[in-house]
């Protein structure tokens, strides 16, 4: 009998929790194109494999445990698309095998974390933005392609306590190209690639009364435009800067965010403003929060001395791989072969790789041990953190022959403990 149930979407950082899913037809309603693709039937990894040969879960996990225990310094990477319960086991596993824990934020929003270390994070939940924000600035962020329902649910046309109508909110997009989001905005400010930092500095100068120091044009934006933007920001009742990878992945990286946070600090001397990153994967926040409470840091954590050390310059996955400083890798719910620069991918081709993932991807092509897993949010439950840190329990709505990430890691941890005994 067909049944439609509520689902919590496990694609992007918006983690929309109002999805409807027909478990019989395997089809969703209400979700966006990304969510619908998530909640649809796709090719799966059929069975656990060791060196291309199908084996049982037990055999694959045994082999994976051997690889990890025999490695001097394994890299355990991914984590952004699984649940906290699995991540916690992953952190403990990395601690046990003296490896390096890193997660997808490292090539995504981690520069924002470095900025938090410098200046903090004056922010709010998406609900605070929906209820109160009369000015929203998307900076280097394109939610219409990366978080398609964000605007409707939280930020652009979302209505709430003080904002009862789209007209009561001014939406500004700052980007290097006229994105789909820019087309929905009340204003689009096109900047030259890599000029985020000086533009933010100019805004800070104007707001703190030093407009004289600002040249006629900064990063492709006229001084008049900058003054106008500064005024809009100062006159907002409650503003929100939502930034994306356009800021974290281009020149300046963490310093761009640091500067933006300083702008927000300054604006709070006049009115209320918050800033928040548009986090990508549905649980990339959990992939940082869980290790933070377990071992003190969010990413790029080395355990080779038996205690955690944090250093992105040394222990981020890209740096470790480029330096050939790991002799095995466990990749979970991620595809670094597709998403890392080639200089990093090269080393992954040369070392034993264990993959845990529901779907075949480019990393599958280089993996020695492949362990298929249940899809969190459809076939497995657990906790995930929305981009603003709000915890939501993603649901199991379909039975599956696949083991969940949590089950796989629990067994793997037991095996590792056995072998190390």
């Amino acid at each position: 009998m067909a049944e439609t149930v509520n689902v919590v979407c496990t694609f992007c950082g918006s983690v929309c929790d109002d999805g409807q899913f027909d478990t019989e037809k395997f089809k969703s309603k209400k979700l966006c194109k990304l969510g619908s693709s998530k909640f649809s039937e796709k090719e799966r990894i059929k069975a656990p494999m060791v060196d291309g040969k199908e084996v049982s879960y037990e055999e694959a996990i045994e082999k994976a445990a051997e690889i990890l225990v025999n490695a001097k310094k394994p890299l355990l990477y991914g984590w952004a698309s699984t649940v906290n319960e699995a991540i916690r086991l992953g952190v403990i596993l990395t601690e046990k095998v003296g490896g390096v824990y890193d997660q997808c934020a490292s090539v995504c929003h981690a520069p924002g974390t470095l900025a938090v270390i410098e200046e903090g994070l004056p922010g709010g939940t998406l609900g605070a933005i929906k209820n109160r924000a009369d000015v929203v600035v998307f900076w280097g962020a394109n939610p219409m392609e990366a978080h398609p329902r964000h605007g409707m649910r939280y930020s652009i046309s979302a209505k709430g306590l003080l904002i009862k109508d789209r007209k009561q909110r001014k939406v500004i997009v700052v980007d290097v190209r006229p994105t789909k989001t820019a087309k929905l905005a009340d204003e689009f400010i096109q900047i030259k690639p890599g000029y985020d930092y000086p533009i933010i500095s100019a805004l800070r100068a104007i707001i703190s009364g030093n407009a004289d120091a600002v040249p006629d044009e900064v990063g492709g934006v006229s001084k008049e435009k900058l003054i106008e933007l500064a005024e809009t920001m100062k006159n907002a009742k409650y503003g929100a800067v939502l930034y994306g990878l356009g800021v974290t992945q281009s020149r300046g990286r963490d310093r761009n965010i640091e500067n933006a946070v300083k702008l927000i600090q300054l604006l709070n001397r006049h009115t209320r403003w918050v800033i928040w990153p548009m986090r990508g994967h549905y649980n990339v926040v959990g992939a940082g929060e869980v290790p933070a409470w377990e071992v003190g840091y969010q990413y790029a954590i080395d355990f080779s001395r038996g205690y955690p050390r944090f250093s992105p310059a040394e222990f981020s996955a890209v740096e470790v791989l480029k330096r050939r400083d790991c002799d095995a890798a466990l990749i979970i719910s991620s595809d670094p072969v597709a998403h890392f620069p080639r200089a990093a991918v090269k080393h992954l081709k040369e070392i034993p790789v264990i993959q845990i993932d529901p779907f075949p991807n480019m990393t599958t092509l280089v993996a020695n041990v492949v362990i298929p897993s249940a899809i969190a949010g459809i076939e497995a439950e657990g906790t995930a953190y929305r981009m603003d840190g709000i915890p939501l329990r993603v649901k199991k709505v379909v039975e599956s022959k696949y083991w969940s990430d949590e089950q796989i890691l629990e067994r793997l941890l037991e095996k590792v403990e056995e072998l190390k005994r």
Partner: protein, 130 residues
């Protein structure tokens, strides 16, 4: 400023990013749909014309860090900027240096783009080329 070299080669800044199609196919990396979602470069209309390109043509993108052949598409990007969806094609030419942050420079890498007759590699061929 966009410099033009002889033989229709342009100096550009390469940026990468998410797209809806890339996202919708990201869990099906070994399919035609994913291949089509990430194997192209969006080029400014004027640059597109100055390179003598037609829709469906291929271009070779070169940076200090590598080169890759992708399909050329007209796109809403500024002159002198090309956009390649995040994925294995873009990563053939992105800058792996992280400047101590752990984050490679995925956006704003200087390079060149030119028309080519070479084929666009499949995802698997691409992996072999790394």
């Amino acid at each position: 400023m966009t410099k033009t070299f002889g033989d229709g080669m342009l100096e550009v800044e390469v940026i990468t990013g998410r797209t809806l199609n890339q996202g919708a196919t990201v869990e099906e990396k070994l399919t035609e749909e994913y291949f089509n979602a990430v194997n192209y470069a969006e080029i400014n209309e004027e640059d597109f014309a100055s390179l003598g390109l037609q829709e469906g043509d291929r271009v070779k993108v070169k940076t200090e860090f590598g080169e890759v052949v992708v399909f050329a598409k007209k796109g809403e990007v500024p002159k002198g900027v090309i956009f390649i969806p995040m994925g294995p094609y873009a990563n053939m030419v992105t800058d792996p240096s992280t400047d101590g942050t752990g984050m490679p420079q995925f956006k704003g890498v200087k390079g060149t783009v030119e028309k080519t007759d070479e084929n666009v590699l499949s995802v698997k061929e691409l992996l072999e080329a790394i």
